[in-house]
Symmetry: C2
Amino acid sequence: MIEGVATDSNTSGEKDRPRRAGRSSGSGARRPRRVRMTGKERREQLLDIGRTLFAERGFEGTSVEEIAAKAGVSKPVVYEHFGGKEGLYAVVVDREMRRMLDMVTTSLTAGHPRELCEQATFALLDYIEEYTDGFRILVRDSPVAQSTGTFASLISDIATQVEDILGLEFKARGFDPKLAPLYAQALVGMVALTGQWWLDVRKPKKAEVAAHLVNLAWHGLDGLEPKPRLIGHRKS
Amino acid sequence: MIEGVATDSNTSGEKDRPRRAGRSSGSGARRPRRVRMTGKERREQLLDIGRTLFAERGFEGTSVEEIAAKAGVSKPVVYEHFGGKEGLYAVVVDREMRRMLDMVTTSLTAGHPRELCEQATFALLDYIEEYTDGFRILVRDSPVAQSTGTFASLISDIATQVEDILGLEFKARGFDPKLAPLYAQALVGMVALTGQWWLDVRKPKKAEVAAHLVNLAWHGLDGLEPKPRLIGHRKS
DNA sequence: TGCCATACTTACGACGCCGTAGGTTACGCA
DNA sequence: TGCGTAACCTACGGCGTCGTAAGTATGGCA
């Protein structure tokens, strides 16, 4: 259906020679006459802009014209690169999905489940903070969701990735591993909505939010600690 | 901005008389001709149809024409009643918000916090099951969200309603009540995403889902019970 | 029986957006 | 210096949608 979905692994171009430097990437794009980027450069720029706009206006609320305009370019350029709005969207989503999953899975180094829990929570909050636009896109309903007839959102897909880790733990503890999906959804939902809220109010510091989330997830409301502390220590 | 937002308390019209039930003209089965409802009737019907369509296609994906067509009526009728798509949407959202909050708050009868937790969870799942369309609308991003510039979704607003109850409990237990919002978001997010997932897979029965959610919320992963049971018993 | 309010229609203007056809400019290399 | 190709543009067709103006049926009521 969509042609250019395959994300070419390059996230921040290495081998590209900026034709006419100006300011490297991004927003300003004053008016240095015309910019004429490399194909790759333009592609990356369009992805960046697309991510931003999709995040703040949603898929349907964003027009190809707007994306092109913000890149200082005309519509057909977008069509050249991605075959249309859906194509661009698909690549953006795919990349964010990967990024998020990567961040979470690579953070999982500990042996003790409690610490694993902490690490995952922290990784998720890191992602939410650093790649807010991506997070917002993943949280929103995808345009695909309604066509497939499924209710599941993108964020729900992420939860299914968590099942496996949880499933192993369940088995080890003698619980029914069939219930892993349920608990995975619950845990991801917990962090996701809290993260969304946190982006808004920015009230407690990230570490504190993480500590409380782990506190809840681990001890439950019954065993809640007034001043939860994280076991594992991190640099940032 | 929007005129007809105020929901008139009547949810299922009582005092309406169906004007013309079936066919009455003597010449064969000439379709029901035209229906000509009361203003109130039509209004309710449009709200029902709107709820359904908004749930499955989203706000932007739904056209006024479609709503009108499904009601067997032409566009201007919708404009008469609600002043436009946003007007209708606003009323739908407002009603669902109320309904959900009502169901949750009226379910809260117990004294023990653990039981309160159960009751709230169950009420939320009840709402999700019975008024799925409404739930889907509340879970989606509202069109207002992006204009206000806030990240918070409708479902997040619901969580802020939960804060109060939680805040009291926190105070009683000597916790910082400033943290109530955080935990409220976490708990609501937990149930919401799980509910969404459950609508898809329909795998464990509702009571079981509720039991596990409460299990997690109450005991945490550490104290998880393999076979959680609900304390309070309900009819359905 | 005739009037009038209410419920509803057809028809249209305007707009925004998607996607494409076909032409133009700049750069890199022989 | 000239040519080819990659990057980019203008311009347009077509569609769907919103929202409104002006006209038509229907049923109660004096």
